[in-house]
């Protein structure tokens, strides 16, 4: 670890604070509970808690990054990966989000920094987020670019950065020689830094192992996505998204394969037994951007109140379609994987609408819901343009402003009224017959 640039001591001791206790107790409780019988909500919570617990226990072997990363690059050096999304979900389950947001207040962050990055800064200052080996920023999230380096300066951690110039699909159009060389240079540079901070250099066997685990896991993840196309769908909302988190958090490890296999087999049983999560399923939803992290029951609320199932989330698509990593050319293969990261936020509204329309067709969805995160420059834009494009294709579109990380920023009843009005404006609920895909 380097010497921190600022003398900011964490308020709580890492191994004696509420978050640390929560992670340990939750994993213990859920492991025991899951042994008695599988439950998808508990399985989702387990995969929010377990990676966090492991990182909290071994911060010196862990790296933080957003979800645009190709985590296999860390696995080559036996590093644990803590995703921004994972720790955010965990802080929500532990009911610590608001405290973390408030703790960032002293830094006078500019108003356009979104709440999640404020929250993570607060988590670091409080001691809930440990001082990790490194903090990494990938891509041009301006909130991340303003805060992640600050995390490193506070924590005395290494700062790693990968710029992705090809964030608008299709990346192949932008895969010029110069750009590819730039990506390879960055990947090799990060690999050298990882080697320096870990003292490890991955062998050919290690590279082969990590890449093969990754390839196998992603095959299973694609099969899970196929199951979601079933009518009625087999899983909805946050639990569904957590299967993406499994793929991300454990990418390049055998555990990803094991956990995803369990998920896949359990979801197949849902079809066999007819225990679909949303019955009757009147509406199928494609969800854009992010759901309220502070409310893990959001998708259940949609299911109970409107019989609406979230069958697809944009955020879980950053690695799709997956292309196998090639151990014969590790840096180049990783560079290509970084370049493939699909950040639809950066697309024009027309492109986003076209993508959403294609996915609606693929997943048999008739509604697009856009949860617009306050402060996030990646979800704002002319949503009225996207709405018109989707309406023209017979797809209903609903956008609402939300703070997905601070429940105090708005009145939920007000938002609920807007959901009520939207669903009241939809044509009479369709009588949906079971459709196997």
């Amino acid at each position: 670890m380097k010497k921190p640039l600022y003398d900011i001591k964490p308020k709580y001791d890492l191994q004696e604070n509420k978050f640390y206790s929560w992670a340990g107790e939750t994993v213990k409780y859920l492991e025991s509970s899951l042994e008695e019988g599988f439950d998808i909500e508990k399985w989702a919570a387990y995969h929010a808690a377990l990676p966090v617990k492991e990182v909290l226990e071994h911060p010196d072997e862990s790296v933080f990054c957003n979800f645009i990363i190709v985590p296999e690059i860390l696995r080559l050096y036996d590093l644990q990966f803590l995703s921004l999304e994972n720790i955010s979900v965990a802080l929500d389950y532990a009911m610590l989000m608001n405290e973390c947001v408030d703790a960032s207040g002293d830094f006078f962050l500019s108003k356009d920094v979104c709440t999640v990055h404020r929250m993570l800064l607060g988590a670091l200052v409080l001691g809930y987020m440990p001082r990790l080996k490194a903090f990494m920023q990938v891509g041009m999230c301006h909130c991340g670019n303003k805060t992640v380096k600050l995390f490193c300066d506070i924590a005395g951690s290494e700062f790693l950065f990968i710029d992705i110039p090809t964030l608008v699909r299709p990346y192949q159009d932008f895969k010029t020689t110069a750009m590819f060389k730039y990506m390879c240079f960055q990947v090799e540079d990060v690999m050298k830094k990882l080697e320096a901070i870990t003292g490890k250099r991955p062998s050919s066997a290690k590279i082969k192992e990590v890449f093969e685990y990754s390839n196998q896991a992603n095959e299973i993840y694609e099969k899970i996505k196929e199951l979601r196309k079933h009518t009625p769908t087999v899983i909805t909302g946050i639990p569904a998204w957590n299967s993406f988190l499994i793929c991300l958090n454990y990418a390049g490890t055998k555990r990803a394969i094991e956990f995803l296999n369990i998920t896949y087999n359990e979801l197949k049983k849902v079809i066999e037994k007819g225990t679909f999560p949303v019955q009757p399923e009147h509406y199928r939803v494609l969800y854009q951007h992010i759901e309220p992290f502070w409310w893990s029951g959001f998708n259940q609320w949609l299911a109970d109140k409107y019989h609406a199932a979230i069958v697809f989330e944009e955020v879980a698509e950053t690695r799709s379609p997956y292309e196998p990593l090639d151990p014969a050319r590790p840096a180049e293969s990783l560079a290509e994987a970084f370049m493939r990261a699909k950040i639809f936020f950066m697309a024009t509204e027309d492109q986003r609408a076209a993508y959403a329309a294609d996915k609606c067709k693929e997943y048999n969805a008739e509604i697009v819901i856009h949860g617009s995160q306050w402060g996030c420059q990646w979800c704002h834009g002319a949503l009225s343009v996207e709405k018109k494009r989707l309406n023209d294709r017979g797809i209903n579109f609903f956008a609402y402003d939300m703070d997905n990380f601070d429940s105090r920023s708005f009145d939920w009843k007000h938002i609920e009224d807007r959901f009520d009005a939207f669903f009241a404006s939809l044509p009479k609920k369709p009588d949906r017959k079971e459709k196997r895909k």
């Binding site: 009225s384 007000h414 009224d417 807007r418 009520d420 009005a421 009241a424 404006s425």
Partner: protein
Amino acid sequence: MITAGIDVGAETTKIILFDRERILSDFFIKGEEAERSVNEGLAKVIREGGTSNGDIKYKVATGINRYLLKGMDELITDVVCHAKGGIYYFPKARTVIDIGCDGSRAVRIDENGGIKEAALNEKCASGTGLFLETMAKKMLAMKVEDLGEESLKSKNAVEINNMCAVFAESDVITLIHKKVPREDIVRGLHDSVAVRVNTMIKSIGLEPDVVLTGGVARNKGVVESMQRILGTQIYVPERPEMIGALGAAIYAQEKLKEKE
């Protein structure tokens, strides 16, 4: 086929007893606890309607406090109710704007009162009845029911910050100290409400005929400001504060017909 529509707002409770196409009786009360006022109101409308509790086949509640009530057949959003209530009096209505105590909402509707698009006010309270009430009582030492006539006397437009109710208070204090005539200040307040509504309407589009509902619609000054700023005629039903309850009762009728 008697139904009851109950609108439990932030400050007032309204009930309509409805039979097929007509209103049998109604109830309005301000400032009482929700459950108690609904019980009192139902007793009154049943008595005045010449019927009994068992004759009410379907009860629908709306309003911000609807979730506090027990024994309702259905709870629905105000937007649906104001759409149906608005079109009852004005069959050609295609946009209904409701300005209540704590919120405002606009809805574009079809010829049956079905919703095409809806918008609600953002989190700020400016542009609502509560805003005007606070200004009247706290700033201007007036009764809220006198605001309308007062603003119609105004000959000069005064701009009041319309982005935040708290900042608007500060604006009004400054204007009072500058000895700006009261009628001009009141008109400025009404204009700020209309501007807020106009911003909200832009997200759904304005389609005439436009109907204004909710208690604030009784304020002729607000109606005048809205007509001027929205650039269209605004129709106001005789008892605009009752439209939510009426719409709920009409919705209840439709549900009963569906079941038949």
